[in-house]
Amino acid sequence: MQTKRMTFPGRWLPYALLAPQVIVTLIFFIWPSLQALYMSLLREDAFGLNTSFVGLANFRRLFADTYYLDSLSVTAVFAIGTTLLSMSAALLLATTVNRMLRSRNGYTTLLVWPYAIAPAIAGVLWWFIFNPSIGIVPYVLEMLGYRWNHRTSGTDAMALVIIAAAWKQIAYNFLFFLAGLQSIPQSLIEAAAIDGAGPVKRFWTIVFPLLTPTTFFLMVVNVVYAMFDTFGVIHATTQGGPAQATNILVYKVYADGFVGLNLGSSAAQSVILMAIVVALTVVQFRFIERRVNY
């Protein structure tokens, strides 16, 4: 059990080395979380002059609020849509690239670039592309007989934010799927080919089942991304509208807290979000990591 160990003189050095990480975590994660937890139990009056302790009242009111419940279902639709779209597009791209021999690296590099683009900029990009008056997509859809307007149609707006949010995540999913595909031994595919399975059958009976660990991992990552990391996309495109149709939970936290100045409710919402993150993380580590191996 004896392992080789480096020893430093003095007791302060380890603490000094750990300190930056600990301080960053404390200031930017732990402290705001505690503050949110505390504020979720308070209520401020409209002018911010008077603050009173109200216990769980903020939470009770949230679950009685139809807007909040709508936002929950909007978030669910958005998260599922984004996850499905980004994962299936990424899987399609990864299987295509995986077949290439020489040009593989070039495509991989190109496909990864979107990931480096800030969500807000991506949002603006999509805002332009889908702009009902000047965008290219509404123009094409118009010719096909569909009148696109995400400013008035909730469905169009949802489609827009899903596409915009999924687009960015494709790069990330693509890399993981490609790595997953490359770890499947070629001889398995060859054995299946000799066993009489065509390309489509091979994909669904051999390749896809073998990718399950990757797929589950990405599912959790994508749901987390869609629920918590898409503020920029929404803000740059629909701002939660029209008529709350794309007002997902993270965006509502911001809208209620910073625009509506209802800090207590906003804090309660972030506490609920935190609980969801924790739950997803538990699912990730406890359930998936253990269950998905063959």
């Binding site: 001889s187 000799i194 066993d195 009489g196 051999i206 073998l210």
Partner: protein, 357 residues
């Protein structure tokens, strides 16, 4: 059941590597042919072309009466056993065996019957509900064999199927594969770089070198009359000793030495002698005598290997002898060789010189 006819087969990989440079070979119906050769000589490439996993650059390939050059692997009616077994890790052993049958639209009852028959034959019934990762290497090997034979294909293709097993299991599986093939009489093409495996399994042996066939024949034919220096050193362990004829002319002793060496065919300049053909006691037939110093003595149980240096040269030579002769390292030893044991070669062409031996 079918024969495999390979005519002028060539493979050039994209990028210009020419891995197979024109191979002609006919594997008769029910025959067990082994392809053997050093690493990188194109064995796998040739086998994979037969399987349909690599495209054929030139030449024709017939399985049975059909020309199969352009057919998909599935349509060639062959089964392949891979070096890493290539079992589907997410399926049970049963499903691994059944997969090929399901894809071909067999009825459920028929699938069950065939899988169970194959499992019984290979003694893997107990493992049918298990996943491959719950099996040992030897058991996986059996499952891979089972997957090949449930389909009752026209031919089996093996690509070094035993090289991931330990030495003992390898011998055991080798015997089983041979027995199984005898029983099923399925045409088989088997790739290995292990010359012992090749010798023991083959009805007919094909020695490949650098994308070409060096020699085809029964294992004993090849052992007894290697057609080239390459085959001479590749087949047989320890490898055949190659001694310049000049050396034997000047240093070879014995009354009959001159006559014996002159009997070698015209053009011979190198003589091959198997390690077993250097005897420590003088035989009654005409013979040649060489003197040497024992450098290393290696006892290997039933036999011993003597690494010697021929007198008056730095030529390293190996002798294999039964039992353990009473010799000491550093001692001077004499060895006796008869005419039959001399394999005449030409260094320039690398070929054996036609002789009557």
């Amino acid at each position: 059941m079918a024969s495999i006819r390979i005519e002028g087969l060539e493979k050039t990989y994209p990028g210009g590597v020419k891995a197979v440079k024109g191979i002609d070979l006919e594997v008769a119906d029910g025959e067990f042919v082994v392809l053997v050769g050093p690493s990188g000589c194109g064995k796998s490439t040739l086998l994979r072309m037969v399987a349909g996993l690599e495209t054929i650059s030139a030449g024709a390939l017939h399985i049975g009466e059909r020309r199969v050059n352009e057919l998909e692997p599935a349509q060639r009616d062959i089964a392949m056993v891979f070096q890493n077994y290539a079992l589907y890790p997410h399926m049970t052993v049963f499903d691994n065996l059944a997969y090929g049958l399901k894809n071909r639209g067999f009825k459920r009852d028929e699938i069950r019957r065939r899988v169970e028959a194959a499992a019984t034959m290979l003694e893997i019934e107990a493992f049918l509900p298990r996943k491959p990762r719950q099996l040992s290497g030897g058991q996986r090997q059996r499952v891979a064999m089972g997957r090949a034979l449930v389909r009752e294909p026209a031919a089996f293709l093996f690509d070094e199927p035993l090289s991931n097993l330990d030495a003992k299991l390898r011998v055991q599986m080798r015997v089983e594969i041979k027995k199984l093939q005898r029983r099923l009489k399925t045409t088989s093409l088997y790739v290995t770089h292990d010359q012992l495996e090749a010798m023991t399994l083959a009805d007919r042996l094909v020695v490949l070198n650098d994308g070409r066939i060096e020699q085809v024949g029964t294992p004993m034919e090849i052992y007894a009359r290697p057609a080239s220096l390459f085959v001479a050193t590749f087949i047989g362990s320890p490898a055949m000793n190659l001694i310049p004829l000049d050396y034997l002319h000047t240093n070879g002793g014995g009354d009959t030495a001159t006559a014996l060496l002159h009997d070698l065919p015209e053009g011979t300049d190198i003589v091959g002698i198997r390690p077993d053909d250097l005897h420590m006691r003088a035989p009654s037939e005409p013979h040649l005598v060489v003197e040497s110093t024992l450098e290393l003595f290696e006892a290997a149980g039933a036999e011993s290997h003597l690494y010697v240096c021929l007198a008056g040269s730095d030529q390293p030579t190996v002798i294999r002898t039964a039992g353990q002769p009473p010799v000491a390292e550093g001692e001077t030893l004499r060895f006796y060789v008869t005419r039959d044991a001399l394999h005449p070669f030409n260094r320039e062409s690398g070929k054996r010189i036609g002789d009557h031996g």
